[in-house]
Subunit: 556 residues, 2 copies
Amino acid sequence: MSSDRLIYLPLGGAGEIGMNAYVYGYGAPGKERLILVDLGVTFADMDTSPGVDLIFPDMSWLIERRDQLEAIFITHAHEDHVGAVAQFYDQLGAPVFARAFTANIARRKMTEFGYSEKSVRTVSAWPEVTQAGPFSVGFVPISHSIPESSGMVIDTPAGRVVHSGDFKIDANPVVGEPFDTDLWASLAEPGVKALMCDSTNVFSTHAGRSESTLGPDIEALIAGAKGMVVATTFASNVARVKTLAEAADRAGRSVCLLGRAMRRMIEASVETGVLTGFPKTISPEEVKEVPRENVMLLVTGSQGERRAASAQLAQGKYQGISLKEGDMFLFSSKTIPGNERGVIKIMNQFSEMGVDVVDESSGKYHVSGHANRPDLEALQDLLQPSVVVPMHGEHRHLREHVKLANSKGRQGVLAVNGSMVDLTGTKAQICDYVETGRTYLDGSIKIGAMDGIVRDRIRMALNGHVLVNVILDESNEPLGEPWCETMGLPEEGRSRAPLVDVLEEDLSQFMGRAGRRTMADDEKLEDGLRKVARQSAQTEIGKRPEVTVIISRLIE
Amino acid sequence: MSSDRLIYLPLGGAGEIGMNAYVYGYGAPGKERLILVDLGVTFADMDTSPGVDLIFPDMSWLIERRDQLEAIFITHAHEDHVGAVAQFYDQLGAPVFARAFTANIARRKMTEFGYSEKSVRTVSAWPEVTQAGPFSVGFVPISHSIPESSGMVIDTPAGRVVHSGDFKIDANPVVGEPFDTDLWASLAEPGVKALMCDSTNVFSTHAGRSESTLGPDIEALIAGAKGMVVATTFASNVARVKTLAEAADRAGRSVCLLGRAMRRMIEASVETGVLTGFPKTISPEEVKEVPRENVMLLVTGSQGERRAASAQLAQGKYQGISLKEGDMFLFSSKTIPGNERGVIKIMNQFSEMGVDVVDESSGKYHVSGHANRPDLEALQDLLQPSVVVPMHGEHRHLREHVKLANSKGRQGVLAVNGSMVDLTGTKAQICDYVETGRTYLDGSIKIGAMDGIVRDRIRMALNGHVLVNVILDESNEPLGEPWCETMGLPEEGRSRAPLVDVLEEDLSQFMGRAGRRTMADDEKLEDGLRKVARQSAQTEIGKRPEVTVIISRLIE
């Protein structure tokens, strides 16, 4: 028994914001029994992952150890925590546990993949606990920007670990449980070995603001609006959606929900009882029957996502509804870094229509769902953990959070994805590094981020593509001239002749002077043709394109 | 004479921030004599313009009227105002006028293109004026984040127009002329018909801050640093570079300039006399001889640009210099929307090295170079223009700026690129729309943004590429099987067989059942093969790739 150890291993979410996946283990080294907390996704972008549909953590390490895996626990229903749960259900083969609302969302994903509703088990909040091998795991309600978010109490033979999940300290979160200071203080009683803690807002030095502070300003804004009002926020921010809808209701406006996620989240909230008293909504068809000054649309797409309701309204129309001069569009949301271009594009499209856009820059229409620095300190003060292991942050956030822990006299461990932390002794220490990375969902196929597939696509996007086709007879003599096609390249270059003509001429000359050996050897010939094509393009158009050479040898 | 009109026509910069190019004309409709104010560039991004090197306004309208063009005036040396001056010098064939510092930068561009230094004429500040056809044009010093920025006084037979250029109201800009309230007020004396005005910060409601307020905070920060200090800002912000260098000097640190733009800007400033008393600098080689706590690097790359000094230091090394734990990196700059990912990447790379990153979020280490809302009002109050035509802004900025003008009892004209404004009468009005757009520098070739070339590259990046090659004999019978190559696609799909094998099998079956007519008709055959390849890929990998079909027909 004395050689058993307690380990923590982030496979995603530590060194980035997104695709959370945290492993805990207890047992003999290499034979630990394991649990996984969260299994989320992150989103692709054109710069690094064009054409990719979704990004998952590389779960290979855990899949190889599926026999050791006891259970998967999901803290809350944000996509970066629950989004990959169905994608890996088969490969991980472990039961999924969550509280009612989160379970409702997870089940929708499971059934889309043809799995049974029973794949997800609903559990109640702390003090109820789930036994999973050597672990006793409880869901402790904590406030965040989605209903029923939970921190995890993970009791092990080596002591208690608390995994904060995403959180803020909010005594009045509008929907869901307020942060319960006494409850969280009570968790410290047996002593807390380690706190794995959300780091998102570690650089925000002011105290966090309550969700409930927004109501009056939002009401005043909507009450003063003349035309149709449209508001967007994350659909999962049910409290915000409720605040917006109630403000509309009080201003005599009927509420219409637009976008699949918006309807699905409200549905799940009502089904699970976390949302009550939501104003009656009208359908997009009914919107057309109501004067526009009596309508409020609540729409998806706060991050400028191309296909979301907001982007489609900005393009002109969504479900038959158009905006026009005098209407108002409210971003009750913050733009996540990297999404600025998409959001700004929408703002300008609305501006062109004469729609007034209001964003969160005044501080009146949005508050963050994550704990700011003073609140991170407050949680440490409540739990008095021996060790703080920052998570849910980029490297800079984790590093700053370690400094914060140190400043309060605690050990802080900077553990990025793949760093295995041994928590057994009085001092935590990194005991191993395992290979981690990203898995891309590309169309319907999972591919590795490092497979080179996406790299090739990026190269084609940057450099364009030339196709070279040559046909040789059995004595290695060319049948006709080399043939080129270009894609993504200018039609004409410096010499004012068609680029393909110039390429074909240069390639033809190369083949004319190529020796017998080259002509007989596919690899040499391909290599030579590629070099000539690239050099010729460089001279003509100042670019070195990707080149694919096809050599066909006819044998009669 | 009575039919002569005064027109304003933005070809770039109105409806976007970047690639400024504003035409003014006076004369009989269609025969106006023209001048151009500014000729700048904007920068490409992966989302919309992968592989593009630079973006210019489409200057076709003006090139077609080059005989009417009298002169080009450059307000200041920022790339979005001067960057395209050499690129279009030949096609526009008009002399370029600028003040000394701007002319120095413009000349460097001209000589790179092989043009004479005389292509750019240096003029002095107002009250000196340049006659250009019916226009009398003066450069009025105005404060901005670069030396010798100027607003233009454009006197015409129809009255006076003032073109603000980029500006802020700064009584103590550290380098260059302070904003001279009396001088600007005096411009109003003959009456100002129209003010074309910078709109960048129209949404910033607080008064702007002077460049000179930063000195003490920057000094305190650098004085307190332990290891090497590195600071980045736009190289053209010579005042900031000076403030940083002086703070280093006072803290006993030697200054080293890294990055071509940084050295070139300081060189131009010293050559033209706008910068005096700049501390002595040391070379990158000398840096290695000095203790790191006595060094300050001033580097390019405040926007996270991939090849700039900051990005290379973040990757590990630049000119033999590396950062390490305990060093400090200061972003004395704001991240331009859209550049967040690149900047954040660098911040995290430095964090991994243990380098402390300081950014402008505290407000202590950066101020904007553009006039905030109260300062925009102040300029209107000084000049008392009849009409305000907002420029240098996205649509939302222009629209807000029009509202601001209206709120002060003035006519505001929302004129985006291509809107020709007739300023002759008491009311300004849009009298025509001309086609405008973007020209891409792609490698060494200028292409139109709408030519489809970049669109094809984006498609390849999103969808991948399949090449289909078939060879037919003279009786339209296939010689061998169809041959596929893929680029940017997974090697295997659903059926666990190589994707190319599945594609080739499906294509082969198609050719087997294709009728004589299809086989004889290149277009039909190509169409059929493309459809089969896309459908087959969709089934296998859930993506519909771009397909290029090459049909070779052998005729003996």
